[in-house]
C-alpha cells in the first residue's frame, strides 16, 4: 500500500488504495480459507460440468488459436496483411468487415458513402471474397468473420468461394460471429426485426451442421455488452440468456440439440481483474453444461461443453499513456489462458483509438507467444484450480450470474427483453454508472484517472490512415462486377430467395449460396429480405 501512495511527479489524483470490491461488485474477504469454499471444483478437467476445463489435457493436447483481427480498405490490401500475419506464425485469420457490408448496403448506396472500407474490408459480392483469399489455402486456415446482421450472407459467400475453387465445403474451418441478439443491445448492426433475424441465424446454424461440420456457425458474444459497460457477471449472464434463446429457436426450427449444441461457441472480453475473469469463465462452463443437461436433456458431453474465444483489451485499454496497454493485454492474456480459452485475440496497444499499425499488431501477437512459450502457465490444466480464493469466487460468480439470468427469464426471455429495449436500457444505465465510477476514481485506471500526467493527456502514436483512393477503387470494382454478371441469373436467384423468405418452413441458406454464385450483392439480398420482413424499429428507452 505504501508503494501505491508514492507520488510521482505530476499525477492528478491520489489513488484510493486497494478496494475489497471486484468490478462486478463482489466483496472479497481479506483472506479465503478452505472452509469458506461451498462447492469448489471436485471434478477433473474434461469432466462434467467442466469447471476446470473442457479438455482433460488442457493446452498440452491442443494450444489455443492465436487469432488477430484485421482487414481494412480493399480486399487486395487485406489479402496482403493476411499473408504477412500467416508468415509471422498466426494460426487463424480474423476478418473485419466494413460497416456497409455489416449493415447490408452496397458501396454505391448513399448510406455507405463515407464508410466504405473504413473499419474493415468491403465484401459486397463473391468477387471481392475471391480476391481476399487469393493464394490462401482455405482448407489449411481457420477463418473467423466478425459479421452479424449479414452473417448468413457472408457465410454463404464463403461456401460459394470454396465451391468455386473445387473445395469441398466440408473441409472449411472457422467461425462466423452470427450473434444478432447482442447487436440489438450493444453493437448496432441489426437489419431485420428480432424474430426473422433469429430464423436466419437458426437456418445458417442448421445448414452449417450439415454442410460445413467443422465450421462454427455462431459465436454467442458477451464481449460487446461488456465493452459497452456491463460487468463480468452481467456479461456472462446476458450471453448465456441469449444462448438459451438461440437453442429455443433452433429447436423450434427442428434442430437436434445433441447435434447443434456441439457447434455453439461463445465469445467474451477479458478485462483486468484476473481472478474475477478466470472465475467468470469457470462459472460459465459449469452453468452452461448444467443447463444443457437439466433443461434440454443433452447427454453427449461434447454438446454440453462451453467453448469460448476471447479478446484481451477492448475498453480496458485507454488512450492516455498508450504503451501501458501492452501490460494490460499481457495480464488479460494470462487470465484467458488460466481460464482455458480456446482462442485468444490480443488487442494492439493503440487500438483504443485507431486501427493498429503493423508494429503494434506484432507486439499484440508476441504477447500471446510470450505467455504461451515463456510464462509456463499453460503447462498444467487449470493451474489456479484449488486456490481457495478462486474456488470461492467461482461459486459466488456462478450464484450471481444465475440470479441475473433468472431476471431475464422473468421478463420473458432474451428475445422479448431485446424487442422491448429493456436490456438496452439496462446496459446504458450500467455504462453511465461505470463512467461515473471512472470519473470519480472509484474504479482506478492508471494513466487515466490516477497517475495521469498533465502533459500527455493523449498519446503520441503512429496512426494508420486508410488510402482515400481505396473507396473509389471499391466502387469501380463493384460496377465492373455489375456489368460482367448475368443479370437474368441474378434476378432468378433473388426471386427464389424472396419466395423462400416468405415460407417459414424453408431453410434460406441454399438460396443465399445460389445468389452468391450468381454474384448477387449483399445489398440486393438484404433488400429482398427486407421486402419480406421489414426493418427493426429501434425502441428508444433511456
Amino acid at each position: 500500500m505504501t508503494a501505491l501512495k508514492q507520488k510521482p511527479a505530476r499525477d492528478t489524483e491520489e489513488p484510493k488504495g486497494i478496494s475489497p470490491m471486484t468490478p462486478s461488485g463482489i466483496e472479497v474477504p481479506r483472506v479465503v480459507t478452505a472452509g469458506m469454499v461451498a462447492r469448489g471444483a471436485p471434478e477433473q478437467p474434461g469432466e462434467f460440468p467442466f469447471t476446470r476445463g473442457i479438455f482433460p489435457d488442457g493446452f498440452r493436447g491442443r494450444a489455443w488459436t492465436m487469432r488477430q483481427y484485421s482487414g481494412f480498405g480493399t480486399a487486395e490490401e487485406s489479402n496482403e496483411r493476411y499473408q504477412f500475419l500467416l508468415r509471422e506464425g498466426q494460426t487463424g485469420l480474423s476478418v473485419a468487415l466494413d460497416l456497409p457490408t455489416q449493415c447490408g448496403y452496397d458501396p454505391t448506396d448513399p448510406m455507405a458513402r463515407s464508410e466504405i472500407g473504413k473499419v474493415g474490408v468491403s465484401l459486397s459480392n463473391l468477387s471481392e471474397m475471391e480476391i481476399l483469399f487469393d493464394g490462401i489455402d482455405l482448407t489449411k486456415i481457420s477463418t473467423s468473420f466478425t459479421i452479424n446482421g449479414t452473417a448468413a450472407l457472408i457465410y454463404a459467400m464463403y461456401v460459394a468461394c470454396a465451391e468455386r475453387r473445387g473445395i469441398d465445403p466440408g473441409l472449411l474451418t472457422g467461425t462466423i460471429q452470427n450473434d444478432i441478439l447482442k447487436e440489438y443491445v450493444a453493437r448496432g448492426t441489426w437489419i431485420f426485426p428480432v424474430r426473422p433475424s433469429m430464423r436466419l441465424t437458426a437456418d445458417s446454424i442448421l445448414y452449417a451442421n450439415r454442410t460445413t461440420p467443422r465450421f462454427n456457425p455462431i459465436s454467442i458474444a458477451g464481449a460487446h455488452m461488456r465493452d459497452a459497460g456491463c460487468n463480468a457477471v452481467e456479461e456472462m449472464a446476458y450471453t448465456l440468456s441469449n444462448g438459451i434463446a438461440y437453442v429455443d429457436e433452433l429447436l423450434r426450427r427442428g434442430g437436434d440439440v445433441e447435434k447443434f449444441a456441439k457447434r455453439l461457441s461463445f465469445f467474451f472480453y477479458v478485462h483486468m481483474d484476473l481472478f474475477e475473469e478466470v472465475a467468470k469463465f469457470r462459472a460459465g462452463r459449469r452453468i452452461w453444461a448444467e443447463l444443457m443437461q437439466a433443461r434440454y436433456g443433452v447427454s453427449d458431453p461434447k454438446a454440453q461443453m462451453f467453448r469460448f474465444g476471447v479478446v484481451c483489451g477492448g475498453s480496458s485499454l485507454v488512450a492516455p499513456q498508450p504503451q501501458n496497454n501492452i501490460v494490460r493485454v499481457a495480464i488479460e492474456t494470462l487470465a484467458a489462458v488460466l481460464a482455458g480459452a480456446q482462442s485468444i485475440f490480443t488487442c494492439a496497444y493503440d487500438e483504443a483509438f485507431q486501427i493498429p499499425t503493423e508494429s503494434s499488431a506484432e507486439i499484440a501477437l508476441r504477447t500471446q507467444q510470450i505467455v504461451a512459450l515463456e510464462s509456463g502457465v499453460a503447462r498444467t490444466v487449470d493451474a489456479l484450480g484449488g486456490s481457495h480464493y478462486l474456488e470461492w469466487l467461482t461459486d459466488e460468480t456462478e450464484r450471481r450470474i444465475r440470479a441475473q439470468m433468472d431476471e431475464v427469464e422473468a421478463y420473458g426471455g432474451a428475445v422479448k427483453a431485446i424487442e422491448d429495449g429493456w436490456l438496452q436500457m439496462r446496459l446504458a444505465q450500467r455504462a453511465h454508472e461505470r463512467k461515473r465510477q471512472i470519473d470519480s476514481g472509484a474504479f482506478p485506471v492508471v494513466g487515466l484517472n490516477v497517475f495521469r500526467k498533465a502533459e500527455e493527456t493523449r498519446g503520441a502514436v503512429e496512426v494508420f490512415r486508410i488510402d482515400p483512393k481505396a473507396s473509389r477503387r471499391i466502387v469501380e470494382k463493384y460496377e465492373a462486377v455489375m456489368d460482367r454478371r448475368d443479370a437474368a441469373v441474378v434476378a432468378r436467384a433473388l426471386d427464389r430467395l424472396g419466395a423462400a423468405a416468405a415460407q417459414d418452413a424453408e431453410n434460406l441458406m441454399p438460396y443465399l449460396v445460389e445468389c452468391c454464385h450468381a454474384y448477387a450483392t449483399v445489398g440486393e439480398m438484404v433488400a429482398r429480405l427486407k421486402g419480406c420482413w421489414g426493418e427493426f424499429q429501434e425502441p428508444i428507452r433511456l
Binding site: 455489416q102 463515407s114 433511456l542
Partner: protein, 151 residues
C-alpha cells in the same frame, strides 16, 4: 475530497430548460457513448432527444429544427467524422439553423480536432473526459451563445 462538512449550496442544474438532440449519424452502431452522454445531460437538467442509430445528417438537421433544440451532439466512432460532421453542418445550414451549436464526441484523433472546429463545431469531446466536464463545457458554450445573442 475534503473531510470538512460544507454548507451545501443549492444550485440550479446547469442545463435546466435546455433541449439537446443527441444523434448517431452514419452506420456506426456503437451507441453506448451517445446514451451515456444523453443520461448525463438529462441528469444536468436538459431535456434530451436521442435519435437512435443510423440517421442521415439531413434527418438529424430536420429533427433539430422541428424540436427547436438548443444544441446538437453528434457521436461518431467509426472514423468517418470528417464527412459526417461536414454533412450535418451543411444540412443545418440548409434548414436555416446554422445558429444551433454542434458538439462532437467519439473516437476523434487529436490532429482532427482543429479540422472539426474549422468546420464550425463548437467543441469536441473524447471518451477520456469526465462527464461533469462535458456537461460544464456544454453549459458554458450555451451560456456564451445566449450572451452573444442578447448583446
Amino acid at each position: 475530497m475534503s473531510d470538512t462538512i460544507e454548507t451545501p449550496v443549492i444550485s440550479a442544474p446547469p442545463l435546466r430548460g435546455k433541449r439537446i438532440l443527441v444523434a448517431k449519424p452514419g452506420l456506426d452502431g456503437h451507441d453506448i457513448g451517445a446514451k451515456v452522454i444523453a443520461l448525463a445531460l438529462r441528469d444536468a437538467g436538459a431535456e434530451v432527444i436521442y435519435t437512435g442509430l443510423r440517421k442521415s445528417p439531413g434527418f438529424i438537421a430536420r429533427v433539430a429544427v422541428d424540436e427547436d433544440v438548443d444544441a446538437v451532439g453528434l457521436s461518431i466512432l467509426s472514423g468517418s467524422h470528417k464527412e459526417l460532421v461536414a454533412d450535418a453542418i451543411a444540412a443545418l445550414a440548409d434548414q436555416g439553423a446554422s445558429n444551433i451549436p454542434v458538439f462532437v464526441g467519439g473516437t476523434i484523433p487529436e490532429e482532427d480536432v482543429a479540422m472539426l472546429l474549422a468546420l464550425g463545431v463548437t467543441a469536441v469531446f473524447t471518451a477520456d473526459m469526465k462527464l461533469d466536464d462535458v456537461v460544464a463545457a456544454v453549459a458554458e458554450r450555451l451560456a456564451e451563445r445566449l450572451a452573444e445573442r442578447q448583446a
